[in-house]
Amino acid sequence: MKAETFNTKRKAAKVNFGMRILCILLLMLSMVARADTNMAVIPQGVYHPLIRSSTDSAEIPVKVFDLDVFPVSNHDFLAFVRANPRWQRSQVSRLFADESYLKNWAGDLELGSNAPANAPVVYVSWFAAKAYAQWQGKRLPTVAEWEYAAIASATQANGENDPAFKNEVLSWYAESTATEFLPVNGGMPNLYGVRNLHGLIWEWTADFNSALIGGDSGSGLDGRLFCGASAQNSQNVDDYPAFMRYAFRSSLKADYCVHNLGFRCAKDLSK
């Protein structure tokens, strides 16, 4: 099982390497500006959702996909709003981003001291994140994909039962919110080479609330997430970090812009 994962990883790495070469060639030849070399291959596998109803599947297959190694930075996002003026702070529709949208930026096209270029972009709505991904020719990862990639520790595909890994993840919550975010390209790579899935920011996913919200504060939400009920429907009642991510995601609406919520992109690994 382990060997298989390892082989898959090596294979994946080869594929990734090949893609990088290809990209560099493309870049050199056709001057296509958007490089996606900073993506890692996440091998196919199975994700066991933390919280599910009796009708939800206990196992969700995850196909092989590419995931950004780093969260999207302010620098990255600035390029996006420059190219897409309707996503600039003064232009954006209130339907697609609330009043906090990019509020740590100095201006429409100016980052300023509160938004270092290499820090993760935050105060972005789901709509904005989705638009960015599309502009990049990518998409947002699903909850299943994100969680599947994030469960990997530095050495194991499933770090769930590794206390050291879990404590490291939990330690983020021991600190109050940092006034300044670390650069997106810091941190240690996990098994797949992906960084900062934990310990920097929360991240949007494509289906951030579909697993939980059955209506506006309706039965789906109340029944599954609060108090003891969340444990009744849970696969692993010990996975506190996962509970927190689920809780966080389900507190969101697509126009919300939050100070510690950013995103990264995913991409199908096409044949």
Binding site: L170, W172, C227, S230, V258, H259
Partner: protein
């Protein structure tokens, strides 16, 4: 079949409802008059008593803040709080009030939060209705149907961690008729903290999930920190004041055995309900429960309150202090009256009360100071009184002592032969070997020098002239003289060896 069953059940429910006139749903909701903003208070303070006699609309704003603060000296912890402190702000409303609740989640918080108020009749106690992302606010309303003291807490998954990080507080729904007036009210809430380090390990401590699951908290504290209610932060009151403490237990895991050392609760409203209990020593407060305790300190002093699961008080921080000032009242409590040496278990009651307690003051014998050959009845009676309070414990009422352990007084040659030795033995005590009637004893007699000269002369005269003994009278002046001339006998025990 199902329909029939349902109809049957409905009938039963209807009958039940009709038979129970106090069911809240049967009562018409009181009319709402006016509107006001709730006055919140930070522990150990309590908002003022509600004076209005009608239900109103109360608007409450409560902000969740995640902040790093002191858990113990040199120990920091990132608390998740309702209002900035642990426990959360105290909310005081009146039975029948309509509450418009606004929960604000500070924009710098990491986590989504919500609130489950046990005072709410409705799903989740408001948990779903108040679920709020960082930088957002939620609003919901509820009617305070049931009077009582209720816990509120965050109920966002993983709920244990939110509570373990300090997300709990109390909401008092005052009964329509109000609470009896008291002189002082305080707000105390217990909770335990599951730090990665041990009790006292310094620095910023993170939450330890394994300890929480195993219910092994390094910290059990009142009001969010070790010493939050001690030293300069101790509660204060005057002798004779009526004190009411609203006590909550946030848990998340442990029940509290709340006890104020040296006070008896005159009244306890168990779990914050409305039926009073009287004369209670320790009140059990479940996690997620509360109690209202009332008492009246009678004498001044520093009163500790503890979780009487006492290792928590001694080793984990579950201790606070109520400093009471005012006039002492020895009729209720004397303070320490004596401290003497002690050499045997059976003597406890006697020593604890001598010399100012139970021994009747002796009337000077008429024959003193010049004693004729035989003692007066008065001196014998006085001596017997002293003997029966003290000496009998070892030497026995019949004066025969205990074979091989305590030498006899009845027929004792030692006692007969030397009055001076006897006097010194009573004043200074005696230890080591002693030969009485040819038998060797090796025992210790503790000094009884606290007795007056007269008492010693009386008791020695008594033992030398009782049980068939015949000896000369011993006078107070002989005893006095012996005190001035102590024997340098290495066999006499040193007092310090008992201290």
């Amino acid at each position: 079949m199902t329909i029939v069953k349902n109809i049957g059940m409905a009938a039963v429910l209807l009958a039940f409802a009709a038979a129970d006139p106090v069911t809240a749903r049967d009562q018409p909701l009181p009319e709402i008059t006016g509107q006001e903003n709730a006055v919140l208070a930070e522990a150990p303070n309590v908002p003022p008593t509600i004076m209005r006699k009608h239900a109103t609309k109360v608007v409450i704003h409560l902000e969740v803040k995640e902040i790093t603060k002191r858990l113990a000296d040199g120990v920091q912890y990132t608390f998740w709080t309702f209002g900035g402190n642990v426990p959360g702000s105290f909310i005081r409303i009146r039975e029948g009030d309509l509450v418009e609740f606004h929960l604000h989640n500070n924009q710098n918080n990491k986590m989504p939060h919500n609130i489950d108020l046990h005072a709410v009749s409705g799903p989740g106690g408001g948990a779903g209705a108040s679920f709020t992302a960082p930088g957002h606010s939620s609003q919901f309303s509820f009617r305070a149907l049931n009077p009582g003291l209720y816990v509120y807490h965050c109920a966002t998954a993983p709920v244990g961690m939110h509570i373990a990080n300090g997300m709990y507080g109390l909401i008092l729904v005052e009964p329509k008729e109000g609470l009896p007036p008291v002189d002082r009210e305080f707000y105390v809430m217990q909770g335990e903290f599951y730090t990665a380090g041990k009790f006292g390990d310094g620095g910023l401590q993170s939450f330890d999930m394994d300890k929480a699951v195993d219910e092994r908290p390094p910290y059990v504290v009142f009001n969010g920190a070790v010493g939050a209610l001690a030293g300069s932060n101790a509660l204060t009151a005057e002798v004779g004041e009526k004190i009411r403490i609203f006590v909550g237990n946030g848990g998340p895991n442990l029940d509290s055995s709340f006890h104020v050392i040296g006070n008896i609760f005159d009244t306890v409203y168990e779990d914050g309900g409305t039926t009073p209990m009287h004369n209670v020593q320790t009140v059990l407060i479940p996690a997620g429960g509360s109690a209202i305790v009332e008492f009246q300190p009678k004498v001044p002093g520093a009163y500790s309150f503890v979780d009487h699961s006492i290792f928590r008080a001694f080793n984990k921080g579950a201790m606070g202090t109520l400093n009471v000032t005012g006039e002492a009242n020895p009729l209720v409590f004397t303070g320490k009256q004596s401290d003497t040496l002690f050499a045997g278990s059976a003597i406890t009651n006697i020593l604890a009360t001598t010399p100012s307690g139970l021994i009747a003051p002796t009337t000077p014998a008429k024959s003193d100071p010049v004693a004729p050959g035989s003692p007066s009845q008065q001196q014998m009676d006085n001596g017997r009184a002293v003997f029966n309070q003290i000496c009998y414990v070892c030497h026995q009422s019949n004066g025969l002592g205990v074979p091989n352990q305590i030498p006899p007084l009845a027929g004792s040659d030692f006692l007969k032969n030397s009055a001076v030795d006897a006097i010194h033995t009573v004043i200074q005590g005696r230890t080591g070997q002693i030969v009485v009637n040819g038998q060797t004893y090796n025992a210790t007699m503790v000094p009884q020098g606290y007795l007056s000269d007269q008492q010693i002369s009386d008791v020695l005269t008594f033992v030398r002239n009782n049980w068939g003994n015949k000896g000369e009278v011993i006078t107070a002046s002989q005893v006095h003289a012996a005190r001035q001339d102590p024997i340098a006998n290495s066999a006499v025990p040193k007092q310090s060896s008992f201290e």
